[in-house]
Symmetry: C2
Subunit: 342 residues, 2 copies
């Protein structure tokens, strides 16, 4: 039941020493303080609403996982300069812009009532401040002056947008395939993890092989991370902990637990999925019934198995690097991303 | 009554030979055909909704004014390469992304019912396809490889977003000053005109003075263009021609005709403006009454005078350049931008 071979002592059964972000957070703490300074400085604008709204989301207690990957990768390859600081802030700005744009409420979809930026300031402000942060990220990259970094992050941004649109068109499409789903999460999530990690090797001017390994590490970690996120959204344990579940269900998103349950279901079950996801006709008790069907077919466990495959691939990607404290901390982050599902 | 000295024969009184885009359009026709090829090629994506939605807005019969400025400026300075083609497409993509994001309907503002992309495909798709086009613009710039161009257009993008947010916070703010309004339109409109024009000199590696002159030309033209746009939105002539007027009024936007009418109004008139713009309590007949107040105080004419000042400054910016066919065509575009108000 251990998550991976290299993390056997920190597997889910070792409840007193579960994998966490703590080691990596400690290793990059000084750098992250500088990243936060850059973030605060660069989200400034004479238009006061911009730092207000951006501050709401930037300061909302996110894990800063993506910029942390840039800092971690730079540390892993022994980078001694300072370019990774501003570029890590770029990565966070792109992520934040994506979050702001993700939370825009559709005209036809005014049901969600979370305390997102758009709920407080409206759709338009969220969109425009997202645009500002996105532009500011490119300004920072231009100031850094590397066309290679600009290529990595503009390519990533285009793929992210493609992935988000792809997700939009698979939403409520009960026939969405597992391949399409994997393509969506690779585009919308994993590509930024990959770019964030790769940049650490780029600023250090490390060999192409290290760049590729870090890019692959980020990509595999990102897919694992998103798979686990999608499982957690149906998790009974999360529910027991008082966390919100069912967001994806209520939005009719086609995530792997649903795709696998639909594929394994009989005619009656498929009719259920078509009604609640395809037609968005959801009644009380439907989420619980969806969870029961997932339990019946073991689709959360199967989805987690898939996540573990990607986590193991991420581990292999790190084999190229010397077994430093940075590498161990990054390995623990891989394990954490999967372990949090238990 | 002529628009500018240098355009006396094409002033509004010469009804048989009014200034138009035609001369410039003809001069850059071959280049523009290539720009359109780039646009079609670069908005492609395996996610079919992206070219569908982007095509809707890209093909919606816009004047392609901004990319035309890049082509015109390149022609003006005698550029003989081909970099201006893709960069003109970048400018159009950034503009299109802005349009898509502009049209996102606010949660609190579901009244507008125009046939915009967001009305057809929803807010989320409009936002995400805008993000895609924006990212694609940066990919094209990276492929071009000029950090200078990247700086010009990332700076412009950040200022545009700032201007859009600034406009948002002045909307319904009846105390908005003329200075704040000019800052908004310079940021949201003129900066992209300026960048588009400047790039023509940058690709041709012309002296700094020509770059600055073209940047200033674009900026002045952009302010004049937006001032006239804002006048047209209250124009009785436009109404007589069957065009929609009152969009800004219905959205509570603080444009110069309103700002000047509020400043010149007595207590009763100010109460009217506070109700219809500040509180957005609009009844039938209010738009007509607003137009009557503008006529009474001559605020459309005053706004047009301001536009003419900027147009004249744009003319002066072109004095630096040899009196070629390109320069004459660009001068006619300046005159057209103001003349269309008559």
């Amino acid at each position: 039941m251990s998550v991976t071979a290299s993390a056997s002592q920190s597997g889910p059964e070792a409840a007193d020493r579960r994998p966490s972000f703590d080691a990596l957070r400690a290793l990059v703490a000084d750098d992250m303080a500088k990243v936060n300074e850059t973030i605060i400085r660069e989200m400034h604008s004479p238009v006061a609403l911009i730092p207000q709204l951006a501050g709401h989301i930037v300061a909302s207690g996110g894990k800063r996982l993506r910029p942390m990957l840039t800092l971690a990768a730079a540390g892993l390859v022994g980078y001694e300069g300072s370019r990774h600081i501003d570029l890590a802030a770029c990565v966070e700005f792109i992520h934040t812009a994506t979050l702001l744009h993700d939370d825009v409420v559709d005209e036809s979809n005014l049901r969600r009532g979370k305390d997102t930026a758009n709920a407080v300031w409206g759709n338009q402000a969220s969109v425009l401040v997202g645009d500002f942060l996105f532009s500011r990220a490119f300004q920072l990259m231009v100031a850094d002056g590397s066309l290679k970094v600009l290529k990595i992050l503009s390519d990533a941004s285009a793929v992210i947008a493609e992935g988000e649109v792809h997700q939009l068109v698979t939403t409520n499409d009960i026939e969405t395939t597992e391949a399409a789903y994997l393509q969506v999460i690779e585009s919308k999530t994993a590509v930024l993890f990959a770019a964030a990690s790769q940049i650490g090797a780029v600023v250090a001017e490390r060999p192409e092989s290290e760049e590729r390994a870090l890019e692959s590490f980020g990509r595999n970690l990102g897919v694992a991370f998103q798979l686990v996120d999608d499982v957690l959204d149906y998790s009974a344990q999360q529910e027991a902990l008082g966390k919100t579940v069912g967001d994806d269900f209520r939005e009719g998103k086609m995530t792997l637990p649903v795709i696998l349950a639909y594929a394994a279901g009989d005619a009656e079950e498929r009719a259920f999925w078509s009604r609640v996801i395809g037609d968005m006709e959801q009644d009380e008790g439907d989420l619980a019934f969806a969870q029961a069907l997932m339990a019946k077919h073991g689709t959360l466990a199967k989805s987690l198995n898939r996540a573990r495959d990607y986590a193991e691939a991420a581990h292999r990607d790190l084999d190229l690097f010397a077994p430093t404290a940075h590498r161990r901390a990054m390995e623990e982050v891989i394990d954490f991303c999967v372990d949090r599902a238990y």
